[in-house]
Symmetry: C2
DNA sequence: CGTTCTCTTGACTCATCTCAAATCTGGTGG
DNA sequence: CCACCAGATTTGAGATGAGTCAAGAGAACG
């Protein structure tokens, strides 16, 4: 694994793309200035490991752009992704030393990182960061539980369809569009990453994508670009409650 | 489902069994008095539904004794447990209206519930409750992710062994003992609840327990009481990193 | 244009599920 | 105290979805 050193750059908070959804989103101007003083931007290449499970925690900060993954590995090499980190998501734990997960860049990833000590001290002084961190952690917990339902009870085909729904929705949200018939997007994950995400093997992922393609549920252009001609059809395939169930 | 009305009782905070681990554990005497004023104890019978997914949220509070479960159900009835609520765990979400999960009493459960409005106001005024809630939510997130690894990558036999390890550890912690060879405990879950927890069918749960019994890994006395003659052996069967990996 | 990696497809195996029946357990009323 | 019942659990036999192993087809890259 060719671990390249992260690139460091600078950028100011007010025009930050994640200003209104990241851990700093409840902060006022003075708190923002404090954060500004302790932050550094770092960019990682796709495939780079940002943090190893069990190693002392060196990084806390937000994903500014790109996709990173959290994963755990069993002694014999079986691997399960347990989190997907998208722009504005927070990496690392305040007030603890070791992360129990591998953090890996799935695409090129830029992070806004904070000096850990200074960040922890700010947490103690202000309640805005901590409050936002709680909201975000609760959202992560909901996502993790939705994911548990997928892992425990869905078929391979439903898992693939569910993943496509998630990526389509996120992509639409990022571009401030509605998901609808004919949406196109690029998969930010390799087949292997998809398999790790869904608790499947690469071969099964590949077969189920082919099956959905043959059934006309998705159209593939090359191996990463997807078009969904009928989004409702994809939703049906995902196995989720058809009538929306809990609208979120 | 014979839904009995919960029993209401009273108890004072200082001698509360979960005083030092619940959401109130960082609170000082004055905050504790405030909480005391807005709390009510409620007891539910095994099998009672404490909250339905999608219904307006009526309860926020802590589990004082007993075991409750969080679960989600797919349109066609497939069911996955997504959380196990033990004494001191917090039920409900502040500042939101609907819970996305069914909350069910697995055993007789006593809750220390708070008036929602008053509780939310307290959250805004003090930081101790919110801080503790963040710690607890992070712990829940870690547990959820560990669980995802189990659901996505472990075999049925490993899943059963893992569950037994978890229950044995929790039971030992509750009685302030070490887990060791010869530990005994009672399973707080039916076979069906175990199946929902592990993403299996009850038949597979039953078969794997029988297999572990025949292999001498566990001894069963009746259907709920378990003895583990060799805890290390059970750990091996759980598939987790043998050398402890991340010691937590 | 090879080389190398990723992805797809095929053939076969096996773990887990499904359907069905037998057995056990705890509770109830006689 | 015992017989009986309903629900929970165990066990069996067969079906099947996903994994494994192996090979071939595409893409990406120098």
């Amino acid at each position: 694994m060719p671990q390249t050193a992260p690139t460091r750059t600078a950028q100011s908070c007010p025009q930050c793309p994640i200003r209104h959804s990241a851990v700093c989103s409840l902060c006022g101007p003075s708190e923002l200035a404090e954060l500004d003083a302790i932050k550094t931007y770092q960019t990682f290449q796709a495939g780079d490991v940002i943090a190893w499970a069990g190693e002392p925690q060196t990084i806390v900060g937000s994903v500014v752009s790109g996709v990173a993954t959290l994963s755990r590995t069993l002694a014999d090499g079986r691997r399960q992704m347990v989190g997907l980190l998208l722009p504005s998501d927070f990496i690392g734990r305040s007030r603890t030393q070791v992360a129990p997960y591998d953090v890996t860049a799935a695409t090129e990833v830029t992070l806004c990182t904070f000096r850990k000590r200074a960040f922890d001290e700010m947490l103690d002084r202000t309640m805005h960061i901590e409050r936002r961190l709680l909201q975000m952690t609760l959202d992560e917990l909901d996502a993790a539980r939705e994911w548990m339902l997928l892992l425990g009870r869905k078929t391979a085909r439903e898992k693939i369809a569910s993943l496509l729904v998630i990526v389509a929705r996120r992509d639409a949200a990022l571009h401030r569009r509605e998901v609808g018939n004919g949406v196109s997007f690029r998969l930010p994950l390799t087949r292997e990453a998809m398999a790790d995400y869904l608790g499947l093997t690469i071969e099964t992922v590949s077969r189920q994508i082919s099956a959905l393609r043959k059934a006309g549920v998705v159209e593939m252009h090359g191996t990463r670009d997807v078009t969904i001609p009928d989004f409702g059809r994809l939703l049906d395939e995902s196995g989720d409650d058809a009538d929306g169930g809990i609208v979120s």
